[in-house]
Structures are given as structure tokens and as C-alpha cells.
Amino acid sequence: AQSVTQPDIHITVSEGASLELRCNYSYGATPYLFWYVQSPGQGLQLLLKYFSGDTLVQGIKGFEAEFKRSQSSFNLRKPSVHWSDAAEYFCAVGHDNYGQNFVFGPGTRLSVLP
């Protein structure tokens, strides 16, 4: 069964600084990879996804992520963080028809200092 790890439980960055959130997955083939953001008390918003093709994918809100097969990673990046980016970020892995095969990581909470 596939699994997702997000090594950082909580990250704090200063506004304007760059950001990288780590995600590693375990799955035998190339999975479908996703990053979701959840603001406090809110739902899950899709930031970006990777299915195939170019390994560097662009998302909303200035985020990007790079799929590295050799490292089984799909790290999320942003060159300059805004205070409104403070939220919980979830990496997810899916394949087949999802359901049991759509697995979320434990999440990384991002705090942004003014």
C-alpha cells in the first residue's frame, strides 16, 4: 500500500522568505501526486497536481512542486511567502480509482512571521 510522509510537522518562515515543504511517498509505480492547503476551519483547496509529463508543475497562489522519481519526492516550493500563506499543507498520493488509494500525508503547519 502506498504511504506519504511529510517530515516537518511545523515550519515557521518570515514573510518574503522562500519556502520548501517536503513530501515523500512510497508506491511501486508512478503515482498521481497532489498538494492541498487547508486554512483554519476551512476545507481542502487543491494547490497543484502531477499526473505525468513535465516534472515541475505550477499551481495556484505562486506555488510550484517538483516530482523527483529517484528520491520519491514531491516537494512544494514558493519563492516568497505571504502572511496569507499561513495554513496546513497536505501532500497526497492517489492511483487507480482513489478511495483507499488516495492517501494524505500527516500535514505540515506553516506559520509566517511578519
Binding site: L44, Q45, L46, F90, A92, N97, Y98, G99, V103, G105
Partner: protein, 115 residues
């Protein structure tokens, strides 16, 4: 832009009571899902639904849970007799049937508090 809508946004109930959480998936979608997130924990799969029947369910989805699509637009999750540990945020999701994968669209969630 089409979206998945969920009601209620927050429900407080007494232990042992029945709860129904409602979802309106995106209209041309064919696959429907419920996930839940206990406070501070990861999002977990509950059940998937396709062609008017459950296609897959997790160990969490025991006999106290049921789902149905009563009228072709709503997709409901019923908890027959709530327990304290059912307190969580419940997310509905849907996707189209045009590809094996495709994007899962999530609703904003229904927060259930069991007292």
C-alpha cells in the same frame, strides 16, 4: 466554477443521536467519496460510491455509517448512533468519470461535534 457543497457546516449533537451530513457533488461527476479528519490528525478515507452503490469502504466505515444518493443530486452520510470519537471534520469529494484518475474536488467540510 463548479464546486462541491456541504451542509451543515457545523453540527453539534448528543452521543447516541443520528446525524445526516449532506453533500451536493459537481453535477456531471460520477464518483463520490467521504473522508474525515479528526482534529489534529490526517485526512482518512471512509467510503467511495459509484453507480448507486458503495465501491469501497475503510475499516472506519462500520455498520453505524451509511451513504446514499437519494435524489440524483445529494450524496448523504448517515451516522446512526453517534459516538464521541465520531467528532471530526467530514469532507465530501467527487470526480468525473472521464479518466481513471482526474482531480478530486473537495467540499469545505462539515464539522461534527458529539457531546
Amino acid at each position: 466554477e463548479p464546486e462541491v457543497t456541504q451542509t451543515p457546516s457545523h453540527q453539534v449533537t448528543q452521543m447516541g443521536q443520528e446525524v445526516i451530513l449532506r453533500c451536493v457533488p459537481i453535477s456531471n461527476h460520477l464518483y463520490f467519496y467521504w473522508y474525515r479528519q479528526i482534529l489534529g490528525q490526517k485526512v482518512e478515507f471512509l467510503v467511495s460510491f459509484y453507480n448507486n452503490e458503495i465501491s469501497e469502504k475503510s475499516e472506519i466505515f462500520d455498520d453505524q455509517f451509511s451513504v446514499e444518493r437519494p435524489d440524483g443530486s445529494n450524496f448523504t452520510l448517515k451516522i446512526r448512533s453517534t459516538k464521541l470519537e465520531d467528532s471530526a471534520m467530514y469532507f465530501c469529494a467527487s470526480r468525473s468519470g472521464t479518466s481513471v484518475a482526474g482531480e478530486l474536488f473537495f467540499g469545505e467540510g462539515s464539522r461534527l461535534t458529539v457531546l
